[in-house]
Amino acid sequence: MKLIFEHLFKYLNNNLILKDIDFSLESRKLAIIGHNGSGKTTLLSLIAGLLKPDEGYVSIDGIEPFFEREKIVKHLSFIFEKGNYSYNMSVGNYVKILKKIRDEKYVNDIADILELSKFENANMKELSTGQAQLVYLLSVLTSNKKIIILDEPFSHLDPGRYIKITKFIQNMEKDFILATQSFNEAEELCDEYIVLKEGEILWKGSKKDLYKNNLFEIYLNENNIPGLNVISDMGKVLIAEARIDYLVKLLEDGKILGFKRAGLRRIYGEINLFN
């Protein structure tokens, strides 16, 4: 997908939510990361055509979402992490309706992955937040759109289901945009990243940019380990510069629990987002 934002401003209830968003990128798997209230959902809503830019321009694959709404809903599918359903129908009935709209076999396959049969008799009104999230996911994953937009889609899922679903999403043919607060989710699933804070883009880059430094996230077992050039101290996790052989030795000695190349955590540290 090709995404273009040009000097975009968006106000909601007289509050400036997005400030001068200006970038263009081409990516198959884009993550938008930021705190609560950073403007992630508003950014996604503009891409989905639900909101109109107050100033500036946005386009995705040449489509101006709000001004070409019929086109955009045929080009992308979306779910937003909000509330429960108030429909007076069972999950099983919903799946039946979905099979009429979408490819029946595909709906069955994805319903199996999401394990919806375990609560197919439950009324949509009475689903837990996690179950509602699975039903939302079924709707978006079974669509035949080129792009899907996922706003914190896994926040209420148990680890077992999370692994199954993310595995499926990684192997999908579709492009997607994921808004999340989880570094792991973003790093596992995406190859391009935008970090938002209070409506502004503080960092933007690819996986290559993310891991280009010789910095590591080090998970401590003991405190006060010498020989590390610490960039950011997050208690039991350090962002530090170190040689790999030295880290391996620390691991063998049991002084650290593990390490990995520093990604989004480093970016957050560098741009002071932990404060």
């Binding site: 639900l50 809903v73 779910i79 937003f80 909000k82 939302y136």
Partner: protein, 229 residues
């Protein structure tokens, strides 16, 4: 076309699958049958105008009201703003069909079929008001506003014309027109009683024009309004 059929089915299910819909439908028809002897005709008419019809109209209209997150979900599911906008209207119209059939049968049996046209116009007005209110993303607000409109309009028109009648006056052209717009049934009832001069032909024509204007307004607004998830 297939998408339109499915989205209509979706809205229809959320309206008529609701048990209250069936209960109110059967209840209103039974009450009407019990009262509809010619000597109780006025009681029947008043009960229908100020209670049963508004109750039915409010409950059916409520079936298409959605909070913001459900709207977003449905846009993605139905894959089209026009699909949703249009299928809501069709679903509402279909939901009224059993009611219209039952009412028409009752009216044929008791030879009062002239009330069928204002009844249909009242219902069409209720439909376009429900559609306009469905644009709001606050379902509780929409429900309250619809209930107020549906119950207050007929009673308001009735009280107004009755007060004028007590003073031996008749509504002028403008207030007669407004009466036809707010409650075609009440206006027609009072025309039959010679309290309103404006003939039903012009009154109903005004209703049709008003319904068309509101519907066009609904189409325009709902295709362009912003939705914040």
């Amino acid at each position: 076309m297939a998408k339109l059929t499915y989205s209509t089915e979706w809205y229809l299910k959320t309206i008529i699958i609701h048990p209250v819909y069936e209960i109110i439908l059967v209840f209103s028809i039974l009450i009407e049958l019990l009262l509809l002897d010619l000597k109780y005709f006025n009681d029947f008419l008043i009960l229908m105008i100020i209670f049963l019809l508004p109750l039915f109209q409010t409950l059916v209209g409520t079936g298409i009201f959605r909070d913001m997150h459900l709207k977003v979900f449905e846009i993605s599911l139905m894959e089209g703003y026009f699909n949703i906008t249009f299928s809501k209207s069709v679903a509402l119209l279909i939901s009224y069909i059993p009611f219209f059939i039952a009412e028409l049968l009752i009216m044929v049996i008791f030879h009062i079929t002239s009330f069928f046209v204002p009844l249909v116009l009242s219902s069409l007005l209720a439909i376009v008001i429900s559609l306009l209110l469905s644009i709001s993303s606050n379902a509780s607000f929409s429900f309250t506003a619809l209930a107020i409109f549906m119950f207050i309009f007929p009673i308001g028109v009735q009280i107004y014309i009755q007060n004028l009648a007590q003073l031996n006056q008749q509504p002028d052209l403008i207030t007669s027109s407004i009466s036809y717009i707010l409650s075609p049934l009440v206006a027609y009832q009072y025309w039959k009683l010679r309290f309103i001069e404006l003939s039903p032909f012009y009154g109903f024509l005004l209703d049709v024009i008003f319904i068309i204007i509101l519907y066009v307004l609904y189409l325009l607004i709902s295709m362009r309004h912003q939705i914040k998830p």
